[in-house]
C-alpha cells in the first residue's frame, strides 16, 4: 500500500546546522519509499521513558535512496523536544512514523508554479519543486523570513527555480518585507498558473488572498500543533469548507496538511465558526 504509514526505528545518519536550523538525516526505508511531496513524519522525543508524550511533526525536506532510503527533517529549536532532537548524533536511533498526511496534488499538464515558503516551512518545497520539474513545470521560488539567517534553502532555490525572490523583514537579505508583498509581482512576471505555499497560518492567509485575486489555484500546507499526527487525538483541527459547502473542523494531520487555500477559513482559525457542522447553537445542532 503506497499511502499507509509505518512506524520505524531509524538510525541517524548525519546531523548538520543550516543557518538557524538543524537538519537530521535518518535511515528509514519504509518511509522514504512511500514519500510524496507534502507528506510529513512524526518523531517521538526524549527517548524511552520520556516525559514528553506528544509526537513532534516535521515536513520531510529530502528523501535519498542511500542505505535503502533516508529522510531529512529540518527544524528550529523551539522547546525541550526540539532541543533533544538537536542534540542527537550520528548512529543514535529515532522513532519515526510516516509518511503522514495528504501530499501536494500535482498538475496533470506542464504549467508554471510559484512556490512560497516562510522560514523552515520552505523545507517542504524542494521535493515538490523536483516533482513539478519532472512533469515539465516551470518553478519560481519566493522565500521569506524575519532575518537572513532564517531564510531556508535560498541557494538550492536559486539552483532549481527559474527565478528566486527572497524577502526578509529586516532587509538583511533580498527585499525588505514579507513574501506576500512580492508575490503579486512574481505571479504576474511568471504568468503563474498555480501557487503552492508552506508556512505559518498568517502567511498562508496572505498568499491565498493574492492567489484568489489572480484567480489561480493555491495549495497550502498548514502548520497546526498536533499530538499524534495519525488522526486520533483531534487536536489539530482547522475550519475548512467541504465540497458540499459545509464548514467542518477537519484534522490538519489526516485531511491535510495540504488544503486548497480558498477552502481554509483563515479568519476563523482558532475558533469554531458559528456555521460549522456541529457548532454550538448552530443550524446543524
Amino acid at each position: 500500500m503506497a499511502g499507509s504509514p509505518v512506524q520505524v526505528t531509524g538510525t541517524v545518519l548525519t546531523t548538520r546546522r543550516v543557518d538557524a536550523y538543524h537538519a537530521l538525516t535518518v535511515v528509514a526505508p519504509g518511509i522514504a519509499d512511500r514519500f510524496r511531496p507534502g507528506h510529513f513524519v512524526t518523531v517521538a522525543v526524549g527517548g524511552r521513558d520520556s516525559s514528553m508524550l506528544t509526537r513532534r511533526a516535521f515536513t520531510i525536506h529530502d528523501v535519498k535512496p542511500d542505505y535503502g532510503g533516508t529522510v531529512e527533517l529540518v527544524f528550529g529549536v523551539r522547546g525541550a523536544g526540539t532541543a533533544w532532537l538537536a542534540d542527537l548524533r550520528a548512529r543514535d536511533t529515532l522513532d519515526l512514523v510516516g509518511p503522514l498526511g495528504r501530499p501536494f496534488p500535482l498538475p496533470r499538464d506542464p504549467c508554471t508554479c510559484v512556490l512560497v515558503g516562510d522560514e523552515h516551512g520552505a523545507a517542504a518545497l524542494f521535493a515538490l519543486a523536483d516533482a513539478l520539474q519532472q512533469r515539465g513545470c516551470r518553478v519560481d521560488f519566493v522565500l521569506g523570513a524575519p532575518s537572513a539567517d532564517r531564510v531556508f534553502g535560498a541557494l538550492r532555490a536559486r539552483r532549481m527555480g527559474e527565478t528566486t525572490t527572497l524577502t526578509t523583514e529586516d532587509g538583511s537579505l533580498g527585499m525588505r518585507g514579507r513574501v506576500t508583498d512580492v508575490l503579486p509581482g512574481v505571479i504576474a512576471d511568471a504568468r503563474a498558473d498555480a501557487v503552492y505555499a508552506c508556512g505559518p497560518m498568517e502567511m498562508l492567509r496572505g498568499v491565498t488572498t493574492v492567489a484568489v485575486e489572480f484567480d489561480i489555484p493555491v495549495q497550502v500546507a498548514v502548520e497546526e500543533s498536533m499530538a499524534c499526527g495519525i488522526g486520533v487525538c483531534m487536536t489539530c483541527v482547522v475550519p475548512v469548507i467541504g465540497d458540499d459547502g459545509v464548514t467542518r473542523m477537519v484534522r490538519a494531520c489526516t485531511e491535510g496538511p495540504v488544503f486548497r487555500g480558498e477552502r481554509v477559513r483563515f479568519d476563523d482559525v482558532g475558533t469554531i465558526p458559528f456555521d460549522a457542522l456541529g457548532a454550538p447553537g448552530g443550524r446543524h445542532a
Binding site: V232, C233, V237
Partner: protein
C-alpha cells in the same frame, strides 16, 4: 505455555484485556493502519453524541510533564453518521466495539441508548459521565452519585439485557466509591475508571491559558497513581464488579499495576498518541509479565495486591498441590 488472557465484562467474554480508551483511538481506521482492530480486547469509540459536534476551538492540547491536557469537546459526527459509517466498518473488521455515549441531559443519554438498542455489532455501551449536566448548571454527572445513577438506570433500562452497560467515572470527586456504588445500584454491569481529572496550564510567554477552553482533562502517566488509587478503592468496596482500569498506561507493567489493583481489563489512551502500536505492545508485555510471575490465567492476578501482606499469591503450583 501461554497465559489465558480472556476476561469478562459482566457476561461478555473478551479474548484479551487490552482496550483502547474512549476518544483515543479515533474511528478505528486510523489505528488499523498500524495493527488490526480485531486483535484488541475491544475497541472503545470516542463519546458519541446525538447531534454532530464541532468541539472546542484550538489550541485544544498542551503537553505537561508526563501528561497531556486536552479540551477537544467531544468533536464527532453524531450518532446517525456513526451508525452509518463507523460502526459497520468496525463490525466488518471483526472488532468488538464498546460504544461510548455522551449527553447533556438524562433524556439525551436515554435517547442515545434507545437509538443504539438492537443495532448489531455493539459489544457494550460505556456511559461517559464526565459531561456537563445542562440541567444542573453544568456540573458533570460523575461528580454527583444521584445524577450518575439516574443516567445509568435510564440507559440500562433502554439497553437490551445482553449488552453490558459500563459507567465511566471521574476521579474529581470526594468519594469515588460512593459514586461507583450509586452507579452499580443504578444497574451498571461494569465500571471504567478513570476519566481525565481537570487540569490547567498557562503559557508564560503569552501569559494566557494554554488551552482555548482554559481548563482541560489531564491524561498520561502523570495521572496513573490516581487511577491505581481509584481502582484499588472501588475494587476493595465492590469486589464483584468488573473494572476497566485506565489512566496513563504505556507499558505492560502499568497495565499489570492496574490489574493487581483490581481491574479485569485495561484501556490504553494517551499512549496511542505517542505510539500507535501501544495496544498490541502492552498486551504482549502484560502476557510476558504474567508468565514470569507464574500466572497462567489473567483472572488470578486481578486484585491480587489486596491480599494480606505475607500471603502467597494463588499460583498454579498451589492449585496442583491442593488437588493431589
Amino acid at each position: 505455555m501461554t497465559a489465558d488472557l480472556r476476561t469478562y465484562l459482566a457476561h461478555v467474554e473478551l479474548p484479551n484485556p487490552v482496550l483502547t480508551a474512549s476518544g483515543c483511538g479515533g474511528t478505528g481506521r486510523e489505528l488499523a493502519q498500524f495493527s488490526d482492530v480485531h486483535r484488541l480486547g475491544a475497541f472503545v469509540t470516542r463519546s458519541i453524541t446525538m447531534a454532530p459536534r464541532a468541539g472546542r476551538p484550538t489550541p485544544r492540547m498542551a503537553e505537561t510533564p508526563s501528561g497531556l491536557l486536552n479540551a477537544v469537546g467531544l468533536q464527532g459526527p453524531g450518532v446517525e453518521a456513526f451508525l452509518e459509517r463507523e460502526l459497520p466498518w468496525l463490525a466488518e473488521r471483526g472488532a468488538r466495539t464498546v460504544v461510548s455515549i455522551g449527553g447533556g441531559t438524562v433524556t439525551e443519554y436515554t435517547a442515545l441508548a434507545r437509538r443504539l438498542a438492537g443495532v448489531d455489532g455493539i459489544t457494550a455501551v460505556e456511559i461517559n459521565l464526565s459531561c456537563p449536566n445542562v440541567e444542573d448548571r453544568g456540573r458533570v454527572f460523575a461528580r454527583d452519585g444521584a445524577a450518575a445513577a439516574e443516567v445509568v438506570a435510564s440507559v440500562r433500562a433502554a439497553t437490551p439485557y445482553e449488552v453490558p452497560v459500563i459507567a465511566k467515572l471521574s476521579p474529581d470527586v470526594a468519594d469515588v466509591v460512593a459514586v461507583a456504588r450509586a452507579c452499580v445500584d443504578g444497574g451498571a454491569d461494569a465500571l471504567a475508571m478513570i476519566n481525565t481529572p481537570v487540569g490547567m496550564s498557562i503559557d508564560v510567554d503569552t501569559m494566557r491559558p494554554s488551552l482555548a477552553a482554559g481548563t482541560g482533562g489531564l491524561s498520561g502517566p502523570a495521572v496513573r497513581p490516581l487511577a491505581v488509587r481509584c481502582v484499588w478503592q472501588v475494587h476493595a468496596a465492590l469486589p464483584g464488579v468488573p473494572i476497566i482500569g485506565m489512566g496513563g498506561v504505556t507499558t505492560g507493567r502499568d497495565a499489570l499495576e492496574l490489574v493487581l489493583a483490581g481491574a479485569c481489563a485495561v484501556a490504553v489512551g494517551t499512549a496511542l498518541f505517542h505510539d500507535p502500536y501501544a495496544c498490541p505492545r502492552v498486551l504482549r508485555e502484560l502476557e510476558e509479565l504474567l508468565q514470569e510471575r507464574g500466572f497462567d490465567r489473567l483472572a488470578d492476578a486481578v486484585g491480587l495486591a489486596h491480599r494480606p501482606a505475607g500471603a502467597q499469591p494463588r499460583t498454579r503450583t498451589d492449585l496442583e498441590e491442593s488437588s493431589l
